[in-house]
């Protein structure tokens, strides 16, 4: 946090703050594309922030970046235009990072860390679609409904999030969370099988 205060005084950081703030405020009014650029630029900043603080765990960085983006998304109604965006975002990033480290130190006693799930996913992209689909079908069966259905509808059948929410009776953010968590545990399962 101290580092942030120093940075906030310099000009380029203020420009970023102002640009991101304009984007999120437009996003809060329902502008998708502004919101997408906000999340895109934010993800770069978050990645740098997390990477710097997790030098032993580089493989977890992308995971925490996504968890933090999801947290920012779910907490977006708590942002107030009269407050600095930097402080708001970094409070969330810090919270998610601490949460991750706490969970990890608890789990480490029992589990081998899941290190390179990001790599596994990028290599799976190059597999022919048919093969991947068959494998995923088996693995999907093992997921709970609220993760499996969103993945099937959105990722395999190409429905929109809103349509899936309507079909399954889940809320839109539950669909998004289901896909996120479901793909994560699929990645873990794929790792177990290979």
């Amino acid at each position: 946090m101290t580092q942030l205060k120093v940075k906030a005084g310099t000009k380029p950081e203020m420009a970023v703050e102002e640009r991101l703030k304009a984007l999120i405020l437009a996003g809060l009014d329902g502008d998708d594309s502004a919101y997408r650029s906000f999340l895109n630029e934010l993800s770069g900043r978050l990645r740098a922030y997390v990477r710097k603080r997790l030098f032993h765990l580089q493989d977890e960085v992308e995971d925490i970046v996504q968890e933090t983006l999801l947290a920012v998304h779910n907490a977006r109604h708590t942002y107030r235009a009269d407050e600095p965006l930097t402080a708001w975002v970094y409070a969330i990033a810090r919270y998610k990072l601490m949460d991750f480290l706490r969970m990890r130190s608890r789990h480490d006693a029992f589990n081998e860390p899941l290190d390179d799930y990001v790599d596994i996913f990028s290599s799976a992209d190059e597999e022919p679609a048919n093969d991947a689909k068959r494998d995923v079908g088996v693995l999907l069966e093992q997921l709970p409904d609220k993760q499996r259905l969103p993945i099937i509808h959105v990722k395999l059948q190409g429905l929109s999030v809103a349509e899936t929410a309507h079909l399954t009776g889940l809320s839109e953010s539950a669909v998004k969370i289901g896909i996120h968590r479901g793909l994560k545990s699929l990645a873990a399962k794929i790792r177990l099988f290979s």
């Binding site: 999340l39 895109n40 996504q66 107030r80 409070a91 998004k176």
Partner: protein, 215 residues
């Protein structure tokens, strides 16, 4: 999932966000929780029989103003604590709940100093000191539920502090409701037993906040 894909997933089909969620959920929580606490007071303990007379007694309103002031101070603290990024809560705001406590303690000392020796023990212990704090903690249950619900709609990042302040808010509003029943009129009694009653949910909030408010 790649982060790019994840971002388009999050940003697709978003709807405008209601900027008043915080105000609305906290006020709903306070209203519903307070109704719950008042109903419990009336059903379980009963209204004090001399309430009509009390409504025109300044000392009664002084008594009600003590938990009310604690409630206002803790609400002012809970608002920033239930959102991310307000780490710089001023020291004055942190200390706000202690203001009414100090006032009541000074008034208590004054009333003890003025009272005859034989009356002092009565002023401190009243006749319900054994049950009073637990009655208040009991009345705070509906408020604890509704306030926890409201804070969970938001995004606290300092869970222990948010839990403690939410508990204090629940306890102080419960104490306001308890004033409808409690016949104790000794200022030292309020300064000790009402305060303990308000602190029970606050301590429980500090203990369970991290588990209950995690998101």
């Amino acid at each position: 999932m790649k982060t790019d894909e994840f971002i388009s997933l999050l940003s697709t089909g978003i709807t405008p966000v209601d900027p008043h969620v915080q105000r609305r959920s906290l006020s709903l929580a306070l209203v519903l929780g307070a109704i719950g606490a008042i109903l419990l007071t009336l059903i379980v303990f009963g209204m004090r029989p001399d309430i009509r007379e009390m409504l025109v007694t300044p000392l009664f309103w002084f008594k009600v103003s003590f938990p009310s002031a604690v409630a206002i101070a803790s609400l002012l603290l809970l608002i920033p604590l239930s959102r991310p990024g307000t780490r710089n809560i001023s020291a004055r705001l942190w200390l706000a709940p202690s203001g009414p406590i100090l006032v009541i303690w000074i008034a208590a000392l004054a009333s003890l100093a003025l009272a005859p020796q034989t009356e002092r023990m009565n002023l401190i212990m009243g006749f319900s000191w054994r049950t009073c704090p637990f009655n208040i903690a009991f009345l705070s249950i509906p408020l604890c539920v509704t306030i926890t619900w409201a804070v969970r709609q938001l995004a606290p990042t300092r869970l222990r502090a948010a839990g403690a302040v939410a508990g204090l808010l629940a306890g102080s509003v419960a104490t306001m409701a308890y004033c409808l029943h409690c016949p104790e009129m000794g200022i030292p009694f309020w300064g000790i037993w009402y305060l303990i009653g308000m602190l029970i949910p606050a301590v429980l909030g500090a203990i369970f906040g991290p588990a209950l408010l995690r998101w």
